[in-house]
Amino acid sequence: MASIGAIDSGSPRLSFAEKLWGINWGLILLLTVIACFGFAMLYSAANGALQPWAGKQMLRYAVSLALMLIVAIVDIRFWLRAAYVVFAIGFVLLVAVEVRGAIGMGAQRWIDLGIIQLQPSELMKVALVLALARYFHGLTIEEVGKPLRLIMPALLILTPAVLVLKQPDLGTAMMLLMSGGVVFFLAGVRLWKFGLVIGAGAAAMPFVWAHMKGYQRNRILTFLDPENDPQGAGYHILQSKIALGSGGVFGKGFLLGTQSHLNFLPEKQTDFIFTMLAEELGLIGGLALLTLYTLVFIYGFAIALRSHNHFGRLLGLGITVNFFLYVFINTAMVMGLIPVVGVPLPLISYGGTSMLTVMFGFGLLMSAYIHRDVRIGRFGESD
């Protein structure tokens, strides 16, 4: 603690070279190795071809990596000040797709930007953490204890969550609620308040159930008993478990997965890509990937704990937990531990927005690392 006091005296202005030096290259290597797993699996999903997925994914990774470096170098105070703006942009885009859907252009969840199709709901996951981190950065610990102070951040979570739920995208809505909740938790909101909200949520379940779409209810029912309807709704999860199980310890070999290559496995290039990996590379391959992810989580925790500003801490750990939730929900889903919700496996599943937002998030995490010693006032001014 004493050492912190020594640096407290001023906010260092870092040179560009210092910033480059400060970039966590180990983390970048880790992310790249994970992304390479993805390239390999997309190559396999296309029966041993770069087209149509692997090649495009590599390009996206390169672009996202560049974006990440830029985001990392940008001063964290800028991100603090921009937090609400980013959130607002995300929110407007979210409303835009919602309005467009309402006026009859179809239930599109994305906006076509030419190079990528931007899914505002994906962007929202990072923007929400950013906005909440800023909000709680500005609160003292006493203020956090005041329920009225929690109305604003609760709205920050609930408004986009409801919009996403209306799309309807249950998976992303849950992600928003959970990653928002995590920032609340880290900010020091009392545990009984969480208990209250969870209790209220449980009480609201019958009401929610009544308002669910048929396919959403089916997914939950199917999760509870997937083998009840092997040709219908339970098909995906059953085939996924068969693929995993038949992979065994050492897997069937790269490019040799039968479940995936004979198309028994649905969505093998997106949501079910982990299944394909574990089928072809076995328990060993699956655990290796999970270990890589775990190393990323550890990096995230380390960075957040070493940050000397509350914003960086909240942001860093918010991003890390968000990333964890992505990984956990996706893998738990394909293993049949939780219902099938449309959550991709970050850095591996084919998809532009997911890649972009995940790397944007890591950019923010690295910015928090590079600027870990910057002291930030309640409203972003350096003191």
Partner: protein, 641 residues
């Protein structure tokens, strides 16, 4: 500063809590992976294989049917058909429309496809149209990429090079009907055919063979990716018939000249059926392709009964062809002797009942030999009166009449040889002596099939319990020279135990029937020396001649409707010097005169037996020229036209 520290501490505490939670969740993931990929791995491996590996049955080629010399009578020819797997096709109607555009489909085709789809297991292909021309096949093949679930399959269809000639012997194959499905998946294969009559039915299981299997890997849409393993099936067994197709052909043509007739030719030494004809015939190929309703109605309502094999299932009163039985019973009982003379005044009185001889003027004094030669009815009325029905029946049964011969075709009928016990048991009334008198000339309740008559003739000339057979277990006849001994063992059939002198007397009488002036079939004799035949004619009354008719003279045959005319029968053997071949012919409603059998049936026997001896199918192969023309599939039809 204090507050900031407090906040930082709280954050760190909660971050560690989160880290703990995440570790627990990650451990859960790892545990789940271990459970799925190690503990449950075997189970899921099986499921994965079940997913991708399909077992497909390979229909075995149906066994050929060939004649005694190896001439193919039923074979398989390749055909192309377009099949549809409903589960892969998506919208069935759309797919059928597309096929319709290419090769044209009838409404009936569409209905059948829809019905079959409901009937068959999923992923079993259903035939959309079979027997495609090369052109049609190519048109579908080119468009297969746009037609999901549609495939061209090459199959085998059953063909009968001789068409109608041996239709009743061979039978036919046809699609499996609903109630024939017994769970054997082979029966569910598209256009699988099973035997429905004749040899095809009798030996269906042998002819079918054993199905092979092909392990194929399919993707989630059921498309075949590759074949993993293949177990070839066993082709159906080849059946060798005793038929001599050249003789069969001649007999069929001779019978076809009559409205409705049947003919059986046997090698009396071996029991081999050399020819077995029932006319009119039918086209067996039409059944395999599927009959139209009109064709079926025509076949079933035709009064000449083309679908019935009259040679084994037609039962006729044997008429005078039964007289040898009465004669042998008489001789064996001692109630008549070769010297016994009965005077024939043209009629026979039993109490007040008159039994007429076919010759109104009578034959005068008749001994046995002459009674057979002239077919004198009165002689046999008297013999039958002395014997009683039971003695006659006992003799007839020794010659194979009145019961089935366990013949190798479905539909054989036993005919009937009445006894007093039988009559009492069946009708509850005592047998009348008058009936015995009628039975003496093969009328009354005596009925026989043409096959039984031929068998009787074979037993007459061999004194052995000859049993006709249709299949040669020993295979195709090996070509042997004329000088080589016949390939039959002398003791093939057990002896009947008839005193040879008695048989000789009867056979001698039958020789006289054909070869002596005044014999009833003298007109139908074979003139070539050494080939002469012996025989016995018969006329089988179909209607009862009423007293009124007899009063005014029996109506002329041409005034009687065809269906009411008498049947003409003839049994025969050749050569008379050392009899070997026998032939029985029944021409339904062919009795044009009192000597009906002699006039209509005997000439058929003459031609067939003459040919049989010239060809001598018991010993040598037919000349190569005949075989050559028949091997050519265009042969028979080309010859017919």
């Amino acid at each position: 500063m204090q507050r900031e520290n407090q906040r930082s501490k709280l954050f760190t505490r909660r971050a560690l809590l989160l880290a703990g939670g995440q570790t627990a969740l990650l451990a859960a993931l790892a545990g789940r992976m271990y459970y799925l990929q190690v503990t449950q791995s075997d189970r899921y491996t099986v499921l994965a294989d079940e997913n991708r590996i399909n077992l497909r049955l390979l229909a075995p080629p149906r066994g050929r049917i060939i004649d005694r010399f190896g001439l193919p009578l039923a074979t398989n020819t390749p055909n192309y058909r377009v099949v549809l797997v409903a589960e892969q096709a998506g919208e069935i109607d759309v797919t059928l429309d597309a096929i319709d555009q290419l090769i044209g489909l009838t409404e009936a085709d569409r209905r059948r496809v829809q019905r079959d789809i409901k009937r068959k297991h999923s992923f079993v292909p259903v035939v959309v149209r079979a027997n495609l021309t090369w052109d049609e096949m190519a048109r579908i093949e080119v468009n297969v990429p746009e037609l999901p679930g549609v495939m061209i399959e090459e199959g085998l269809s059953r063909t009968y090079p001789f068409a109608e000639t041996a239709a009743h012997v061979l039978g036919y194959v046809a699609p499996v009907s609903e109630k024939e499905l017994n769970g054997d998946p082979l029966l569910e294969l598209p256009d699988f055919r099973i035997g429905k009559s004749g040899i095809e039915k009798q030996h269906d299981l042998e002819l079918r063979g054993k199905a092979g299997t092909s392990q194929i890997e399919t993707n989630a849409y059921g498309r075949v990716v590759r074949e993993l393993a293949r177990v070839e099936g066993t082709p159906g067994k080849e059946m060798v018939l005793t038929l001599d197709m050249a003789l069969q052909d001649l007999a069929a043509r001779r019978c076809a000249a009559e409205q409705s007739a049947s003919c059986v030719v046997l090698d009396a030494f071996t029991g081999d059926v050399l020819a077995l004809v029932s006319s009119p015939g039918f086209d067996p190929i039409a059944f395999g392709a599927g009959l139209t309703a009109v064709m079926w109605r025509d076949l079933t309502t035709n009064i000449r009964n083309p679908l019935s094999n009259k040679a084994i299932s037609g039962t006729y009163s044997p008429g005078s062809t039964f007289k040898p039985m009465v004669a042998l019973a008489g001789l064996e009982s001692g109630l008549i002797t070769p010297e016994t003379v009965v005077s024939c005044p043209g009629s026979f009185f039993l109490g007040n009942t008159v039994f007429h001889c076919w010759r109104h003027g009578g034959h005068g004094g008749m001994n046995l030999r002459n009674a057979i030669k002239n077919s004198c009815d009165v002689f046999f009325y008297e013999t039958a009166r002395r014997l009683g029905i039971d003695r006659i029946a006992a003799m007839a049964k020794r010659f194979g009449l009145g019961s089935k011969l366990d013949f190798d075709l479905p539909g054989e009928r036993p005919g009937n040889i009445p006894t007093r016990d039988w009559n009492l048991a069946t009708y509850g009334v005592a047998w009348q002596l008058g009936e015995t008198i009628s039975a003496g000339i093969g009328q009354s309740k005596v009925t026989t099939t043409p096959l039984q008559l031929a068998t009787m003739a074979a037993r007459l000339i061999t004194n052995r319990a000859v049993v006709p057979r249709l299949t040669r277990r020993e295979g195709v006849m090996q070509p042997v020279g004329l000088q080589t001994a016949p390939d039959h063992p002398e003791s093939l059939f057990p002896s009947l135990g008839i005193p040879p002198a008695n048989l000789k007397l009867v056979v001698d009488g039958m020789t006289a029937v054909v070869n002596e002036q005044g014999g009833t079939a003298y007109g139908a004799r074979i003139r070539e020396a050494g080939l002469e035949m012996g025989g016995k004619s018969g006329t089988s009354q179909v209607r009862h001649i009423s007293a009124a008719e007899r009063e005014h003279g029996v109506r002329k045959t041409k005034d009687v409707p065809w269906k009411e005319r008498d049947h003409a029968l003839f049994i025969s053997f050749a050569p008379v010097s050392s009899p070997r071949y026998v032939c029985a012919v029944v021409v339904e409603h062919g009795g044009e005169s009192a000597g009906g059998g002699s006039a209509v049936a005997a000439p058929i026997c003459r031609d067939v037996l003459r040919e049989a001896q010239l060809r001598d199918p018991g010993r040598r192969v037919p000349d190569a020229e005949f075989v050559a023309t028949r091997d050519d599939p265009a042969g028979p039809s080309a010859r017919r036209s």
